[in-house]
């Protein structure tokens, strides 16, 4: 390699080919550019002309320069230029080279820097021709010397582990050391460990040793604990230094279930302090959702701590069967539960319907006998998802018939009627004491005190399954606590009351411990070792060295004691572990970590990680050459006049990129303004052009009639597309039915239903006079049924004689269109409508009927052309004209009904009103 300042060139002789550039210049210059093809009708005049000189246009000098530069860049790129080549000193030597890496979580923060440094060293070693081997202390494997390039190609696979090398690891590493002389590089993570010393001695005896270590400090995060409702967090740093501020963050899921940053907080290390503490006051709900705490900007498992159940305050709903508000407080069935649970849990009060949506962890039913079916269903659903239902017996439960003959789904056992009383004033026998807990009971290990007595209880019916369900019993073998599982949850019944009425259990310390064992109250002291002994914990997710959570499906379960006490290693990875009824977290940083910076013996040379990086420039030069050649292509195209196509393509691309500024909104607005500035009637587009035109003409005719005869002066009618147009602007829609119109989409139906509910009216017209008759339906009738199936239409009846439609403007008894006399259906009158004495008609619906359905083909009767003449002939002679007149009157009445509602019905009250006003 030749060095030019900071630039090294691996194959300098290749640069000689730069000498060929001037020759290339001459050659390229002589080559004429490609001919341009042009259309030119005058070509006939050119035929026969000869070129004077054969030398053509020269390639422009700048294009030549561009090409020269491209060629030069290729040559230079191939000659292997390197910026900042590694000086030779560090990797000099000829003995094999052993690279030892601590590869612990503490190296993860600057793992990249380590890898870069190592890569540089290996490159150098490769140039020197030394063989190299790698030994990771966290996961030692037999050492095998290979060429440096082989190792370099494997470097990306070398990852740190989320633990520190322990004693066993170091022993294995010593055993793995090769025979003979070798030099060693030790990539240290900077943490002091006693176990380093023996290895250090061996390495020094075999050859030279260089230690690479990052001088920067290292931040670590201790486990989160709960203190008086506050989250207490302890942050550590490896080296004392000036005041420093780090950001502590909590990640978890937002209420929608998406990963989110839940809080951020700045923590400041005092000057020269190694520890910073902070207390966070977070809402319990938010706290329960946090799934990891981390120091932001530090990629290391040491900067992450996972909370487990000990941080969670469980939500417990307490529900009593009898309202204790008027009783004495000590007799309140929930009093002792409240006292026992309040310090460690969040208590919800309220009715069952109120607390179930909050999804509490536990629901306590104290002396509640029966639940309503809907409540029972909801509780069962909640149980299936992992709820814990804790029931206490009591006089009500004993008196009720619940779970008497058949086992109630919300009771673990069947009960005998009445319960029993022992040791009372009126009974023989002593009050019963508790039997010691069986070893398979969740209460196993708790001390049973003799002073706890039970003198009343409910008795379980003997059942084949009873023995499995008893988890605590009295000295005479009767069950005291039974449980069964339902789905993922369980139902627990305590056979005595929750207050001291039947037993003094609730006022003993044992009661609190039993509640803890049932995971009803989970306090801070859960990880007591005797609780963990013999249990198996399945890892849920484990941390890698960079602090990322990974699934742990393939890892075996861990014994409880090991989980609590053993040092982290390949067999016990940091992460979350699932026990029988709760989760435990093992974090990298324990409550009291011993973080000390490593002090190396003075004879060992310690080097930093930061050094200028060797940069091969060859690739960049080749890339530049390609860019230049691309520019050359464009320039050549431009020169030969062919860039036009490219320009067109660019224009197309630009056009495609432009947002298409639809004018949908403006048309929507125009429609809204046009439809609302005057009264506008509309007809529904059916897709049948002829029918749509007829309907449009009919609306025009109806509008004209109204304009001439009444004070309703409508503007020109509109056609409405149900899928696209807004309906709310129109007081009245005419919907002619044709047998082959499309069923509207769901969105259109939603719009239609909103329209009908908010006071709009649709006139459905099957236009076939319903001539099928005799129970059969016409094609249009069936279509109407299909169309209306999804509409929110009230019960209907044929227009009664006293319906307001018969008198809103004209007095009508028939409603003919092109056909006469078929029934027209409107919203049915309420069943309690009665004819009052002295009133001509009943007081019917208060609202406008949302639909009018008929088949008289009103469109044909109303339709007029532009000049106002009817389009469709009706009947014969004067009779037909009379029919058209009545049809028009029906239209007027209909619109009046739409616009004025039951105003005409109220007119009957006028005499009474006038009478009352004294007129």
């Amino acid at each position: 390699m030749t060095l030019f300042g900071v630039l090294g060139i691996t194959t300098p002789w290749l640069l000689l080919s730069l000498l060929a550039l001037p020759i290339l210049w001459v050659i390229l210059r002589a080559v004429p550019p490609a001919p341009v093809r042009r259309k030119f009708p005058g070509v006939v005049l050119l035929l026969g002309l000869k070129d004077d000189e054969q030398v053509t246009d020269r390639t422009p000098w700048w294009l030549l320069l561009l090409r020269m530069l491209a060629v030069a860049a290729v040559i230079f790129g191939l000659s292997g230029p390197i910026l900042n080549p590694e000086p030779k000193t560090e990797a000099a030597g000829d003995a094999p080279l052993l690279v030892i890496m601590d590869a612990s979580w503490a190296s993860a923060t600057d793992w990249r820097a380590r890898m870069v440094t190592l890569d540089g060293l290996l490159t150098q070693a490769g140039r020197e021709g030394r063989t190299v081997a790698l030994l990771r202390l966290t996961n030692p494997e037999p050492v095998q010397f290979n060429s440096a390039d082989v190792l370099r190609s494997r470097l990306t696979g070398v990852q740190p582990e989320p633990w520190q090398p322990g004693k066993a690891d170091m022993q294995r590493a010593m055993a793995a050391l090769p025979e003979g002389e070798f030099d060693s590089f030790w990539m240290s993570d900077g943490l002091a460990r006693d176990t380093r010393a023996p290895l250090l001695q061996v390495l020094e005896s075999r050859g030279t040793l260089k230690v690479f270590e990052n001088a920067r400090t290292l931040f670590a995060l201790g486990p989160a604990t709960l203190e008086d409702g506050h989250l207490a967090m302890t942050l550590h740093r490896l080296r004392a230094g000036p005041e420093a501020t780090v950001t502590l963050a909590g990640h978890g899921k937002d209420p929608a279930g998406n990963p989110a940053l839940l809080f951020e907080s700045e923590v400041t290390f005092e000057d020269q302090a190694l520890i910073a503490e902070t207390k966070l006051s977070l809402p319990a709900e938010l706290r329960a959702r946090i799934s990891r705490f981390e120091i932001q900007g530090t990629r290391s498992a040491g900067a992450v701590t996972l909370p487990d159940d000990s941080l969670r305050r469980r939500e417990i709903a307490l529900i009593a069967g009898r309202g204790g508000s008027e009783g004495l407080q000590l007799l309140d069935p929930l009093h002792y539960l409240n006292k026992a649970l309040a310090p460690t849990t969040d208590i919800l009060n309220g009715s069952l319907e109120d607390v179930l949506p909050a999804n509490p962890d536990v629901i306590v039913l104290a002396d509640v006998a029966t639940l309503s079916p809907s409540e029972e269903f909801a509780v069962l659903e909640w149980l299936a998802q992992g709820g814990l239902l804790l029931r206490f017996a009591g006089p009500r439960l004993a008196a009720s018939d619940i779970s008497r003959t058949d086992e109630d789904p919300l009771m673990p056992v069947r009960l005998r009627a009445g319960g029993r009383t022992v040791g009372g004033a009126m009974s023989w026998g002593e009050p019963k004491t508790l039997a010691p807990f069986a070893s398979d009971s969740p209460f196993a290990g708790l001390n049973v005190l003799d002073e706890i007595t039970v003198h009343s209880q409910v008795i379980a019916q003997p059942d084949p399954a009873l023995a499995d369900r008893v988890i605590a019993q009295l000295s005479d073998g009767t069950p005291l606590v039974t449980r069964k599982s339902v789905g993922q949850g369980q139902v627990v019944l305590v056979h005595v009351t929750a207050n001291a009425e039947w037993s003094n259990l609730p006022i003993s310390g044992l009661f609190v411990q039993m509640l803890e064992r049932l995971s009803i109250s989970s306090s801070v002291g859960v990880s007591e070792d005797q609780n963990l002994e013999g249990t198996t914990w399945q890892p849920l997710s484990v941390l890698d060295a960079f602090g990322k959570l990974r699934g742990a499906d393939t890892l075996p379960g861990v014994d409880g004691l090991v989980l609590a006490q053993a040092v982290l290693s390949a067999d016990l990875r940091p992460g979350l572990y699932q026990g029988e009824d709760r989760t435990l977290a093992r974090n990298v940083i324990a409550a009291d970590p011993q973080l000390q910076p490593m002090v190396w013996p003075s004879e060992v040379s310690v080097l930093g990680l930061n050094r200028p990086r060797e940069t091969p420039l060859g690739g960049w030069f080749l890339a530049a050459a390609i860019c230049l050649l691309l520019a050359d292509i464009i320039a050549s195209l431009a020169l030969s006049g062919r860039l036009l196509g490219a320009r067109a393509a660019m224009a197309i691309l630009l056009l495609a990129g432009l947002p298409i500024d639809g004018n949908a909104q403006t048309t929507d607005e125009q429609l809204a303004i046009a439809a609302t500035s005057e009264v506008v009637f509309a007809h529904v587009l059916t897709g049948d052009d002829k029918l749509d035109q007829l309907a449009g003409a009919a609306m025009r005719g109806l509008s004209d009639t109204l304009f001439y005869r009444t004070s309703v002066e409508p503007a020109l009618p509109m056609a409405v597309n149900l899928e696209e147009d807004e309906l709310a602007f129109f007081p009245f829609l005419y919907w002619p039915i044709s047998a082959n119109q499309a069923i509207p989409s769901d969105a259109a139906y939603a719009k239609l239903n909103t329209y009908l509910r908010s006071g709009g009216m649709i006139l459905f017209d099957t236009r076939d006079a319903d001539i099928a008759g005799f129970g059969a339906t016409t094609a249009n009738g069936r279509k109407l049924q299909a169309l209306a199936a999804q509409l929110d239409i009230p019960p209907l009846e044929p227009i009664p004689q006293d319906h307001v439609l018969t008198r809103t403007f004209y007095l009508l008894q028939d409603f003919p269109g092109r056909y006469v006399g078929r029934d027209v259906w409107v919203e049915a009158a309420p069943p309690d409508a009665k004819l009052v004495e002295g009133m001509p008609f009943r007081n019917l619906n208060d609202n406008v009927t949302p639909v009018v359905i008929g088949g008289n083909d009103w469109a044909s009767a109303w339709a007029v052309d532009e000049t106002g003449l009817p389009i469709v002939p009706l009947g014969r002679g004067f009779t037909g004209e009379r029919q058209r007149e009545i049809a028009n009157r029906f239209g007027v009445n209909l619109v009046m009904h739409v616009l004025t509602g039951n105003y005409k019905s109220d007119q009957v009250h006028i005499p009474a009103l006038l009478d009352r006003l004294g007129q």
């Binding site: 042009r38 259309k39 030119f40 009708p41 070509v43 050119l46 002309l49 070129d51």
Partner: protein, 297 residues
């Protein structure tokens, strides 16, 4: 389908031609020849001849037929008069617009093709003539001269037809003797058929005008560098290594061609006009208006 498109483009052409023509008063084409082959029309030629309208009385001359004596006039005096009618003719004008591919060329996106301009001018003059009561048609047998608005439609439709050949030869068949003719083309093709057509026209005593429509690029030859020139139909190609050097020689050949056409016109009593597509069509129409009116612009 293609006919529909042709009709549409034809009607567009017609409306634009009508717009151009609306700038002019009705044109009365003046007939130079008096041959009897000329069809009678309602337009007086301001001289005595066959016709319906009264022109003047003149004294009876020897050789006049007695049947022509106007007795009512003659009874007022001693002399006998003959009432002469005004001679009415309708002029037949026959058009030929080059349908060849060479006309479908424009050097710039902003310019119309030569064919477009040529058809516009031809149809505009046809509109003027038809308004003036003349008969307008095409040379050849496809569309003989007729009168009336419908003829405009037919003309526009005929103008919508393109020819695939690169350079079309002038159609000199079917020319009515003593009619007028208008040839619109770029006249870049072989000169021999043009000469033959004009000779044939002169033989039949047809007078007319040649309008040469050229693209500005054909006039300026603004090309440089190695170029392959192709005709629009790609039947003729010519490659040069240095187009810039050809310019002077090309221009001299073009000038020679124009000179040749002018000479030819002078010899046959025709008129020649060169129009460029970057000029206004109205200037060409104005010139044609005067040329067909009989005067020399």
């Amino acid at each position: 389908m293609s006919q529909n498109i042709a009709q549409q483009s034809g009607s567009g052409l017609r409306s634009r031609a009508q717009m151009e023509a609306s700038h002019f008063p009705a044109l009365l084409a003046r007939a130079e020849t008096l041959a009897g082959t000329v069809l009678l029309g309602e337009h007086g030629r301001r001289r005595a001849g066959a016709g319906d309208d009264f022109w003047q009385y003149r004294p009876l001359q020897p050789g006049d037929n007695y049947r022509h004596i106007d007795w009512r006039r003659s009874a007022k005096g001693d002399d006998q008069f003959i009432s002469e009618r005004e001679w009415q003719v309708a002029q037949s004008v026959q058009l030929w617009v080059d349908p060849g591919a060479s006309m479908r060329f424009s050097s710039s996106r902003d310019l119309p093709t030569k064919a477009d301009r040529a058809r516009l001018i031809a149809l505009a003059i046809a509109v003027l003539l038809i308004r003036g009561g003349e008969r307008v048609g095409l040379t050849g047998w496809d569309l003989p001269p007729r009168r009336g608005e419908a003829q405009m439609l037919r003309l526009a439709e005929m103008f919508g037809r393109d020819d695939d050949s690169d350079y079309a030869e002038p159609e000199a068949r079917g020319m009515l003797p003593h009619a007028k003719a208008l040839f619109v083309s770029d006249f870049l093709s072989d000169i021999a058929p043009i000469e033959a057509a004009l000779a044939k026209a002169a033989d039949r005593n047809v007078r007319g005008t040649l309008v040469q429509v050229l693209d500005p690029a054909e006039e300026a030859f603004p090309f440089q560098g190695r170029t392959i020139f192709e005709s629009v139909g790609k039947s003729v190609a010519y490659e040069t290594l240095k187009a810039g050097d050809l310019r002077d020689r090309y221009l001299s050949r073009l000038a020679e061609r124009k000179d040749r056409l002018e000479t030819l016109c002078r010899q046959t009593g025709w008129q020649f006009y060169c129009h460029h597509t970057n000029q206004s069509a109205q200037s060409a129409l104005l010139w044609l208006y005067r040329a067909l009116d009989g005067g020399h612009p």
